[in-house]
């Protein structure tokens, strides 16, 4: 009897902390979203009449084409790497993730600086060859250019998820297809494509959410989308109500996209009859084919990482004497510190909530898992003001007349948690999914408490998922811009805000050093994730 009560109380610690966490995530957002029920104002009619159509068209075009191209250049190399052996294959396995280290807004500044009239390409043509090209050929500051930028810096989401799926799950089906005499292309078209659908959708959803949320690229290129519109109505017109209305529309847009996919997939589902994970035997390519495949991967790597990085290094070289000083260590320290701190908290919270959801079967746990990933689909600006209001409210409760919590680093970190909890949560959840519940149940049957079971049994098993989740969050926080800009404390600069400040002052060269440091740190984190997955998979998947 005593034992049983003990177990229950332990269970309550997990579910109570989850409940509190979920409330903290929910309240600031709900606070803002309630604005939708207020009556529409004059501004809203103006927006509806003159602007809304543009927002919808532009956002749709961006999402649609970025989605399609990301699938193409994410899935094809993922498939090539799984299926074939070719020169530098092991390098591309992780190098094709590296474009994620470059925040799209920095990529946009870099490519525009590279291609415009004063950029290295046109000036070389002009100064050395005497060719004056029509500058519009090199103009990327339009919707096509934005699609290019988003695709080349976000496709790795599709690449990572589909590659890891194909590496682990495709062996038996693909080998059956080969045995039955299908060509490589037919195997790809009729086997690989359908079975990877869920993975493709998961990766593409991340790309789509990033595109819809991005503010830097579209602002710079002068394209009006939902995210620029939300900033403009809120801060430019001072109209919170209409801004929230736009965000709500955006969320409808996102959910609609996900629902359509779900329905069109219908009952088609591909699960595996066996739990045994086995790598696909790779076909060795040689000669022209090997050359073509390597070149294809090199090209993606060059455009997505190498070229922009070299350009930024060159600019850093031109400007370092003017701006590099001790302050850069402080910015770097700030960036790394908040990123580490937020990532650790996010992972701990993810573990608490995911474990509660896994253990309990109640309707609440289903809701928890939805709320945990809510922040990722809400525009950064909306989260920012939701959190500001929430902290102001807290401060009024604590001590009137002075801001105690507001404008502290706590507020910023809290914002990161809401925004990026989804990424940490998804990693941890997938870790739990792989492990299943049987070990947990065995341990519980043997009379061990939930908490002890967690530390002794579950945690060691999900450790790789926890660490890669941690690194993914770290990368995102380092790159984050809108929340940091709006919510940071006094005298607080990060690498991202510094890069943005210089860039928005039209000082692209001066922005290069901060950008390079961001890319370096994120690149290291990516390499870490790669090493980790290579180690954990070394026994069966390579």
């Amino acid at each position: 009897m005593l034992k049983r009560r003990n177990l229950e109380s332990q269970f309550n610690i997990w579910s109570i902390s989850s409940f509190i966490i979920i409330m903290f995530v929910l309240i600031p957002n709900a606070n803002i979203l309630l604005n939708i029920f207020e009556p529409a104002n004059e501004n809203w009619n103006h927006i509806k009449e003159y602007l809304l159509q543009d927002y919808i068209i532009n956002s749709t075009i961006l999402v649609l084409f970025t989605g399609i191209f990301s699938i193409l250049i994410g899935l094809i190399p993922a498939w090539l790497i799984t299926q074939y052996e070719f020169p530098f294959r092991n390098f591309f396995k992780w190098a094709l993730i590296l474009p994620l280290a470059i925040p799209p807004y920095i990529g946009a500044y870099t490519y525009n600086g590279l291609l415009n009239y004063t950029g290295v390409i046109q000036t070389s043509l002009r100064n050395y060859l005497g060719i004056n090209v029509n500058p519009t050929y090199f103009d990327i500051m339009n919707i096509k250019g934005a699609i290019f930028i988003y695709t080349i810096f976000l496709f790795p989401y599709v690449f990572i998820i589909t590659r890891s799926f194909l590496a682990k799950q495709s062996a038996s089906l693909v080998e059956a297809s080969r045995t039955l005499g299908r060509s490589s292309f037919e195997t790809f078209r009729y086997v690989v494509l359908p079975i990877s659908r869920t993975a493709i959708v998961a990766g593409t959803s991340l790309v789509v959410l990033e595109v819809l949320n991005d503010y830097g690229v579209v602002k710079y290129f002068g394209i009006t989308t939902f995210s620029t519109a939300i900033f403009k109505t809120w801060f430019g017109m001072g109209d919170l109500n209409s801004a929230v209305r736009l965000s709500a529309l955006l969320m409808v847009f996102v959910s609609g996209f996900l629902l359509i996919e779900k329905f069109s997939r219908g009952a088609k589902r591909f699960s595996y009859s066996t739990t045994k994970i086995r790598p696909l035997s790779r076909i060795k390519l040689s000669g022209v084919k090997a050359f073509l495949v390597s070149t294809f991967c090199s090209l993606i790597f060059a455009i997505g990482f190498l070229i922009p990085t070299l350009q930024l290094l060159h600019w850093s070289w031109l400007s370092y004497a003017k701006i590099l000083n001790i302050d850069f260590f402080i910015f770097s320290f700030n960036s790394i510190f908040v990123a580490l701190f937020a990532s650790i908290l996010i992972i701990i919270i993810s573990i608490i909530v995911a474990n509660t959801v896994r253990i309990s079967d109640s309707i609440f746990s289903k809701i928890y898992s939805k709320v945990a990933i809510l922040g990722y689909s809400i525009p950064g600006a909306v989260i920012a003001v939701g959190i500001l209001l929430f902290f102001l409210g807290l401060d009024r409760l604590i001590y009137s007349g002075r801001l105690v919590l507001t404008s502290t680093i706590l507020m910023l970190i809290f914002a990161y948690i809401i925004r990026f909890l989804a990424i940490g949560y998804n990693s941890v959840e997938s870790g739990f999914d792989k492990v299943g519940k049987s070990f947990f149940e065995a341990s519980r049957t043997l009379g061990v408490g939930i908490t002890k079971t967690f530390f002794k049994v579950d945690l060691p098993m999900i450790k790789p998922a926890v660490i890669s989740g941690f690194l993914l969050v770290l990368i995102e926080v380092l790159k984050e811009l809108p929340l940091t800009l709006i919510l940071r404390p006094f005298n607080f600069d990060t690498l991202a805000t510094k890069a943005f400040e210089y860039a928005s002052d039209e000082m692209i060269h001066e922005a290069a050093i901060s950008s390079i440091i961001i890319i370096l740190i994120c690149g290291l984190a990516i390499y870490g994730i790669h090493k980790l997955s290579a180690r954990k998979g070394s026994k069966n998947v390579n």
Binding site: Y50, T118, F221, M237, I344, L392, T408, I409, I486, H509
Partner: protein, 347 residues
């Protein structure tokens, strides 16, 4: 492992909170320490500004805490923070924004003779709730090899048929364009301003894109002949670390128009400032002749204090005559300007 992680996190957290200047309030509250500080929300983020603020700290012993951000976001933040705001001062790079802060009841009168003496009346708010720090003109930049600058004398000339397909200007979401149109609404009326904007729209060489520098570059590249832009960007291009940009800067000329539209970077005192005396000291310091020279030059702008001369580069562009309006009007007509842009389809 988790426990030690947690303890580490907690230790780091406490360390950070106590070392964050913004939390000074918290510890003052605990220990009753006296405040020798002033809190500045600013849209300017030039490295030289930090230098100047350091000089102020050394001179007065008053610590300056800085929060940088977009003007609109900072205003919204002060608004939301209400009576308990940390902000004592607000600096924005546009008079329209300062007026918006004033209209929202976020500012109060700067009670200082020194400031009144330093800055002329047309560069201050009618109720002295804000004052200009630096001045810039929104001018026409032309291709030296193709355009005779004498052919263009007024903003209205930009709508003439001969400039069809020749004009470059950035998007209407940019506040400088909004303020330019607002100034035309103020001086010539709404219908005139609408017709003017439509005329410019018809003459554009391409749909608006890029920043002000991109417009000058497009002139050099031959996409168009005239660009509407702020004076200081030419200064920045001539001093760029990219030699190609310097070349562009040299290929274009600056043309001041009759009644040149000017705008300012300015500073306002917040209504609920906790360090009002220190804040006024900082405004006095920044409008003083000595600081003005440094502050304006950092961004190739004209000093707001008339006793200070503009830099040699700016003087080389020549003298100009400014629009005869109080800059408060830029804020009053901002909303109208935005609506006109949206309605005529100037992106």
């Amino acid at each position: 492992m988790k426990k030690s992680l947690f303890i580490l996190a907690l230790a780091v957290l406490v360390g950070t909170v106590s070392s964050t200047p913004a939390s000074a309030g918290f510890f003052d509250f605990l220990f009753g320490k006296d405040n020798g500080e002033v809190n500045l929300y600013t849209n300017r983020h030039y490295d030289t500004d930090a230098e100047l603020l350091k000089q102020f700290e050394e001179k007065t012993g008053i610590k300056v805490n800085v929060l940088k951000g977009g003007s609109d976001e900072l205003i919204e933040r002060i608004n939301r923070e209400g009576e308990s705001t940390n902000a004592d001062l607000l600096i924005t790079a546009d008079a329209g924004r300062l007026h918006r802060a004033k209209a929202a009841g976020l500012l109060q009168t700067i009670d200082s003779e020194t400031v009144l003496n330093n800055i002329p009346a047309n560069l201050r708010d009618e109720d002295n709730q804000w004052t200009a720090l630096t001045v810039r003109g929104r001018v026409v930049v032309y291709a030296r090899n193709r355009v005779n600058p004498l052919e263009i004398n007024t903003y209205e000339d930009l709508t003439a048929a001969k400039w069809n397909d020749k004009i470059l200007v950035r998007s209407s979401s940019n506040i400088y364009n909004q303020s330019l149109l607002a100034s035309l609404i103020a001086t010539e009326g709404e219908e005139y301003a609408r017709a003017w904007a439509e005329g410019v729209l018809n003459n554009m060489a391409r749909t608006p894109k890029g920043n002000d520098r991109a417009q000058a570059t497009a002139v050099a590249a031959g996409t168009g002949d005239l660009a509407i832009m702020n004076t200081y960007y030419i200064g920045k291009m001539l001093n760029s670390s990219n030699p190609e940009e310097v070349k562009v800067g040299k290929q274009v000329g600056v043309r001041f128009l009759d009644e040149t539209h000017i705008n300012v970077s300015g500073i306002g005192l917040t209504k609920h400032a906790k360090n009002k005396d220190n804040a006024i000291k900082l405004i006095e310091f920044l409008t003083d002749a000595q600081a003005q020279e440094f502050f304006a030059e950092a961004n190739y702008e004209y000093p707001a204090n008339p006793s200070v001369e503009a830099s040699a580069l700016l003087k080389s562009w020549g003298e100009f005559e400014t629009q005869d309006i109080n800059l408060t009007k830029l804020g009053e007509f901002n909303q109208k300007a935005v609506e006109i842009f949206n309605e005529i389809g100037w992106q």
